[in-house]
Amino acid sequence: MVDLFELLIGKEGDKDYKKKPVIVQGITGKFGAFHTQQMLAYGTNVVAGVTPGKGGQKHAGVPIYETMNEAVSATGAKISIIFVPAKFFLSAAVEALESGIKLLIAIPEHVPVKDALTIVDLAKKKDAIVVGPNTPGIIIPGIIKIGIMPASPFKEGRIAVISRSGTLMYEVSHNLSVANFGQSICFGIGGDPINGAPLIQAFDTIRNGANIDGIVVVGEIGGDAEEMLAQHIIDTKFDKPVVAYIAGRAAPKEKRMGHAGAIVYGNYGSAESKVSMYAKANVPVAKRPAEVPMLLAGKFEKGRIK
């Protein structure tokens, strides 16, 4: 499989080391235009935008192309971020993957399950990583921000954060930063039932990263991704500290709590089920976001005594 860190940072000596080029699909929409400026301000190397009908124009100094094929051949970019409305997501994502994009960040919320499944299938064939849909994106503090997250909660460091929720990713990262646990990467997998890179895959793409001392997994009710991850941690004997948080303990059953994926049927997707599986994997679960750094500190403390 493609290496996420190589895509995002590259190797020392690469011409574009720590300056990997990024294309923005839907660059002239209100949302896309705003976040293109925010990404540029962070230092992300946004090299091209795509909006059909606006080829040849520029936004924030970034040249706009008619199609992904043109944008990719002009720039050689392997990373793209999509801002189009959910209805148009499928065609935009297909275009990106067909043009050779290897890391696709899918921002739109409300993408139909069928379209997400179609993209998951295509990404497998193309050996590409799809992050989202309904994700805030990915940030490597100090190096690259591909997404809609504010910059302020994040700080350079050695903890990886994987999250099913956007604002909770900011909240937890902010709490970590304040407690001096900076982050080596924050990876929003998205709040939908079908994720391009589900929890386990996100975990596996970063677990062997050079700058990772521990991993924080921010989850929520719905599905069985946390249960599968807990089993995976046991099976693969992952021995770095892992701490989790799960939102939605107080949510009623069979009600969709904001995220399309946050819904409990019977015991399937319940917080209790997730907490008990995490317990088996020796992963402590915080009761509130502010408790995450304390639990992480406890894990490191234990590691030192051992």
């Binding site: 925010q38 959910a86 209805k87 993408v111 139909p112 399950v113 069928k114 499944l117 179609t118 998951v120 805030p136 809609i148 997250m149 504010p150 302020s152 909660p153 999250s163 099913r164 929720s165 956007g166 604002t167 909770l168 990713m169 900011y170 909240e171 902010h174 709040g191 039932p193 079908i194 589900p198 921010v218 929520e220 009710i221 719905g222 599905g223 069985d224 991704a225 599968m228 948080y245 939102a247 939605g248 303990r249 107080a250 949510a251 009623p252 069979e254 009600k255 969709r256 709590m257 904001g258 995220h259 399309a260 994926g261 946050a262 019977g266 015991n267 009761k287 509130r288 976001p289 502010a290």
Partner: protein
């Protein structure tokens, strides 16, 4: 969107899956007419989006007109697990020889559709024994797969042939209507070896509704939910007295958990989306003002890019316009927090640095008022 039994069955009928003869009504006058058409005996079934209707007495047999006059109004008033009866289905009784379980669902972990079937149905899925599980990719089920599943369930001869047809049709519904779940429980083998869907549960992918105008007639949203949806918010109404508002589903769920841990009772879950502007917060307050049980509002906003002053402006405007006169307990992280606190001095909105402090203050205030 979860379809009611009669709605799911009307889809089944459209696709040629056999269902018992039945009629649906929302008042007893129509019910009496339906009863006359159908003829006694029959089953009276409350139409509500919840499982466990049988145990709760929301499904009852009816032998004659006297029973009908007693049972129809009784079932119409039933509330099971907080869900009210929306309509009543009168359905002819079936001569059941064997009950089976069959469903196709979106398997999130495996990222594909999956068949669950069993030769022992009629109970909730958690208690279904000898489950046969079969992954089917994007949902298409060919005759060979359907036959394999049927044989594993112990079916043969006419019931097997019928089952193969039903499973393939159920798969067609799942794909064409973009369902996350299509369940028949029980699927019954009758005395004459015909196979019939005695119940139906179908959940449609809400995000795909823009492609399914034909299903709009089944959509039932409260006035508040509809208004919330128009503003791009997510709203879930709950039983307590403190409205919980925030930006981002995870953050609002997290706030709900912490409030409940501290003995507070949430009146709603209101997610205004990732951003937060003066307009969205003002609209959120307007929505909350229409909920009668609300005595206080707990706000948790992770600002980041947004200035907290823009949000503070919304509170002040809402008080000025007399939209709300409730106490607000707010935590807003982000730029210009001090200036926001200054702006809100003297208003009924108290700003706190952490959500924990805001929750404590809200719970104390609610307890004070009883």
């Amino acid at each position: 969107m979860r379809l009611l039994e009669y709605q799911a069955k009307s889809l089944f009928a459209d696709y040629g899956i056999p269902i018992p003869k039945g009629l649906t009504s929302v008042d007893i006058e129509q019910g009496r007419k339906d009863a006359a058409v159908l003829g006694f005996p029959f089953v009276i079934k409350a139409q509500m989006a919840v499982g466990g209707r049988g145990k709760a007495g929301a499904i009852q047999k009816c032998q004659n007109a006297d029973e009908f006059e007693l049972k129809y109004p009784d079932i119409m008033q039933k509330v099971v697990k907080g869900e009210k009866t929306k309509a009543i289905l009168l359905e002819k009784m079936a001569d059941i020889k064997k009950e089976l379980y069959l469903s196709l669902f979106l398997n999130r972990g495996k990222r594909c559709y999956t068949i669950i079937a069993s030769g022992e149905g009629g109970v909730e899925i958690e208690s279904v024994k000898n489950q046969i599980i079969h992954e089917v990719g994007l949902g298409n089920v060919d005759a060979k797969t359907a036959e394999e599943v049927g044989k594993q369930m112990g079916l043969k001869d006419k019931p097997l042939t019928q089952f193969i047809d039903i499973l393939q049709k159920l798969a067609k519904i799942t794909i064409e209507k973009e369902a996350e779940l299509a369940e028949i429980n029980p699927l019954a083998v009758l005395g004459d070896d015909s196979v019939v869907a005695l119940d139906g549960k179908v959940i449609i992918d809400d995000n795909a509704m823009f492609r399914h105008d034909e299903l709009r007639k089944f959509q039932e949203v409260s006035e508040l939910e509809e208004r919330a949806e128009k503003s791009g918010f997510s709203l879930v109404e709950l039983d307590g007295n403190i409205a919980v508002v925030g930006n981002g589903a995870g953050l609002v769920m997290s706030t709900l958990d912490m409030l409940s841990d501290n003995g507070g009772k949430p009146a709603c879950f209101l997610d205004v989306g990732g951003g937060a502007t003066t307009e969205t917060v003002y609209e959120a307050l307007t929505l909350i003002s229409k909920m009668k049980k609300v005595r206080g509002i707990l706000v948790n906003l992770y600002g980041g890019i947004v200035k907290t002053t823009t949000v503070a402006t919304a509170f002040i405007k809402a008080y000025d316009d007399k939209i709300i006169d409730l106490p607000v307990f707010a935590r807003m992280s982000g730029a210009e927090a001090d200036k926001s606190k200054e702006m809100l001095k003297g208003s009924r909105t108290k700003m706190f640095d952490t959500i924990e402090e805001a929750i404590n203050a809200a719970v104390i205030e609610m307890n004070k008022n009883g």
